[in-house]
Symmetry: C2
Amino acid sequence: MTSYKLLLLPGDGIGTEIMAEVKTVIDWFGARGVASFEYEQDLVGGSAYDAHGKAVSEETMAKALAADAVIFGAVGGPKWDSVPYDVRPEAALLRLRKDLQLFANLRPAICYPALADASSLKRELVEGLDILIVRELTGGVYFGEPKEIVTLENGQKRAVDTQLYTTSEIERIARVAFDLAKTRSSKVASAEKRNVMKSGVLWNQVVTKIGKEEYPDVALEHVLADNCAMQLVRRPKQYDVIVCDNLFGDILSDVAAMLTGSLGMLPSASLGAPDATTGRRKALYEPVHGSAPDIAGKGVANPIAMIASFAMALRYSFGLGAEADLLDRAIAGVLGKGLRTADIFTEGTTRVGTKEMGAAILAEL
Amino acid sequence: MTSYKLLLLPGDGIGTEIMAEVKTVIDWFGARGVASFEYEQDLVGGSAYDAHGKAVSEETMAKALAADAVIFGAVGGPKWDSVPYDVRPEAALLRLRKDLQLFANLRPAICYPALADASSLKRELVEGLDILIVRELTGGVYFGEPKEIVTLENGQKRAVDTQLYTTSEIERIARVAFDLAKTRSSKVASAEKRNVMKSGVLWNQVVTKIGKEEYPDVALEHVLADNCAMQLVRRPKQYDVIVCDNLFGDILSDVAAMLTGSLGMLPSASLGAPDATTGRRKALYEPVHGSAPDIAGKGVANPIAMIASFAMALRYSFGLGAEADLLDRAIAGVLGKGLRTADIFTEGTTRVGTKEMGAAILAEL
Ligand SMILES: CC(C)[C@H](C(=O)O)[C@@H](O)C(=O)O
Ligand SMILES: CC(C)[C@H](C(=O)O)[C@@H](O)C(=O)O
C-alpha cells in the first residue's frame, strides 16, 4: 500500500475548524486501506507570524517541500492588516507557491443544482455550470522583478511591479489546460490583454502554437480578459476550460466562483511539474474562500470547500480518481438531503454547524 | 454664446452609424442656442489604418489636441486582427488617452428600470443600480516601460510589461473620485491588490492620505480588486464610487457594465486636468461597447451609449448640466415608451433601428 505524507496548514480564522473535519475524512480513507496517509500539522500565516514573526518558518517550508501534498486552510485577517509587507500572512502562500513551483492552479467553478438559487445570477444561467479555470501561479506580476517602492528626489514615491512571462512558462501552463480539456469537453478559452500588454501578445502566440501543434483536436478560443470577465457574467456556460495568467486568473476565478453562489463549496489545487524519475508532483490544495475572521471559532463555517480540496488531492496527487468521485458524491449527497451550513442556508433546508456537516459527509461515505 | 470645437472620430464597425445620430443631437443643442458647436469628422482605428497605414494620423492627433472635446465611436474588428502591434486599431485610443493626458476615466454603470430584466442578475440585485467607476487611464501597466518582447539566447522569448504608479498620479485620480463622491453619496471604494503588488501598497497609502486630509467627510473603504470583482457580482448596490488603476478599472468597469444588462446604453468620459488659465480640460467621450463588426452597416446598432456620451460632454466639458439632464431624461423617456433596438429588445416592446432610435430621442427632446 502506497504511503503518503501530508502537511496540514490550517492557517488563520476558520482554518483550524474546517481542517479538523478534513482530518476525519483523511482518516476514513486511510482506514479504508486505499493508501496510508501520515500527516503533520503546522502554523502558517498570521498565526505563524504571532508565533515566530514570519508568515511561514523555514522548518515549515522544509516540511512542505518534503510532503506529498500540502493541505492549506486560509490565511489573513484584520489582526495582521498592518504587519510589514514581507511578513504579511499572504506572503506564506506566495512563498509556498514559488518554492514548491506550483505553477498550475486549478479552480473549478461548479454550480450544485441544490444551490443554484443562491447565485445572484438567474437560475437558468448557472444551473449545471461547470467551468475549470487554469491559472498560471508562479509567474507574472506576482513575482516579476523589479517590485519595489522607491522615493524620488522630489519626495514623490514610485511603485513598480513587473509582469513577466517566458515562452516555457506559458507552454507548460497551456499544456496543463489542454490536457485537462481533453478529459472534459475539448474546449479551451485563453484570456489575456494582447491589445495592451506585450505579455498578452506572447501568451496568445504561445498558446496558439501549442494548441495547433500538440492539441489539434481541442478547440481553442482567444478572449480579451476584460471581455472574458463580462462574458462570465453574461453567459457563463459558454466556457469550459479557461487558461490565463496569474493576475487575470486571480480575478476571473473569483468572478467564476461567485457565479456559483457558493464560495464555501469551491476547492482548488496548485500543482507542480511531475518529477522526471518518480512521476510525483508537488501540490497544495486549498479552498477558494478566505479565513472569514468574522465567523471564526463559532463552529458555523462551511467545511465543504476544504473537504473537496482533499478530494482534489485524492485525484491529482494520489491517483485515486474513484475515491475522489466517492467523496464528491458524498458531498452532493449531503446537500441533496438538505443539510446546509449558515452560508448556504435557505428556507426549507436544515441548518447545521461545521462538525455536523463533517460528520454527515463521513456518514454518507 | 460660447463656441466649442468638437472632433468626431466614429472609428470602425458601427461607429459611423451611431455617430450620425449624435450629430443630429449636437445640431439640436446648437440650434437651441445653449452654445455653438462646430464639428469636424476624421478617421481613426482600422479605417485610419486602411487609409494611411496608421491607427491615427498626426493631423488627426493635432485636431484632437486643439478640440474642446473628442467624441469617439469604437475601433477594431477581425479585419485588423493581424496588423502589427504598433498600428493596431486600439493603439489610436491609447495614443489619444496618453497625448491628451486623459488620466480620469469615468464609467457609470446604471441600470435603467425599464431594462433591469435584461441583466443576467436577479432583478432585485440590479434594479436602481448606479455605480461610477473612476479608472486611472494614463498610467499603470498600459504605459509603463519596459514593455517589450525579447528573444533570449536559448531561443525562448521573454515578454515584459511594467506596472508603474507615482504618488502624484494616484493623488490626482483619488481627488477626482472623492470630488465626484461628494456630488453623490459621499462613499468611495478603492480597489487594488496591496497583498501582492507594491503599486497596490502605494495606491492604498496615497488614497488613504488624500481621503483623511482633504475629504474627511467622504467614507473610504479599501477592497482587494479580486474581492471587488466578486462583490460586484454578489451585491453590486453596496458600491457607489469605485476608484482603481488602469488595468483593474478595465476589468471592473466591464463587469459593472455587464451587470446592468445593457452595454449598448453605457457612456464614458475620459478627462484631463483643468487648464491653469482657461479652466478648460481636454476630454474624450466614448461608449463602453465596442465596434460590433457583426452588426455593422445593418442599421440596427443601439446609438444610446454614444448619445449618452455626448450628454457626459455637455456635463463635464461644457458645464451644461441642465442640458445633460434633459438629454438623459429624453433617453429614459424613449425607453419608457417601449422603444428598443435589437440588443435590448424583449417581448412586448417595439423594435426600432439606429435611425429611428435617434429620431425618437430628438422628438423626445
Ligand atoms: C491571498 C492572495 C495572495 C491570493 C492571490 O492573490 O493569489 C488569493 O487572492 C488567491 O486567489 O489565492
Ligand atoms: C480597446 C482597449 C485598448 C481598451 C482598454 O483596454 O482600455 C478597452 O478595453 C477599454 O476599456 O476602453
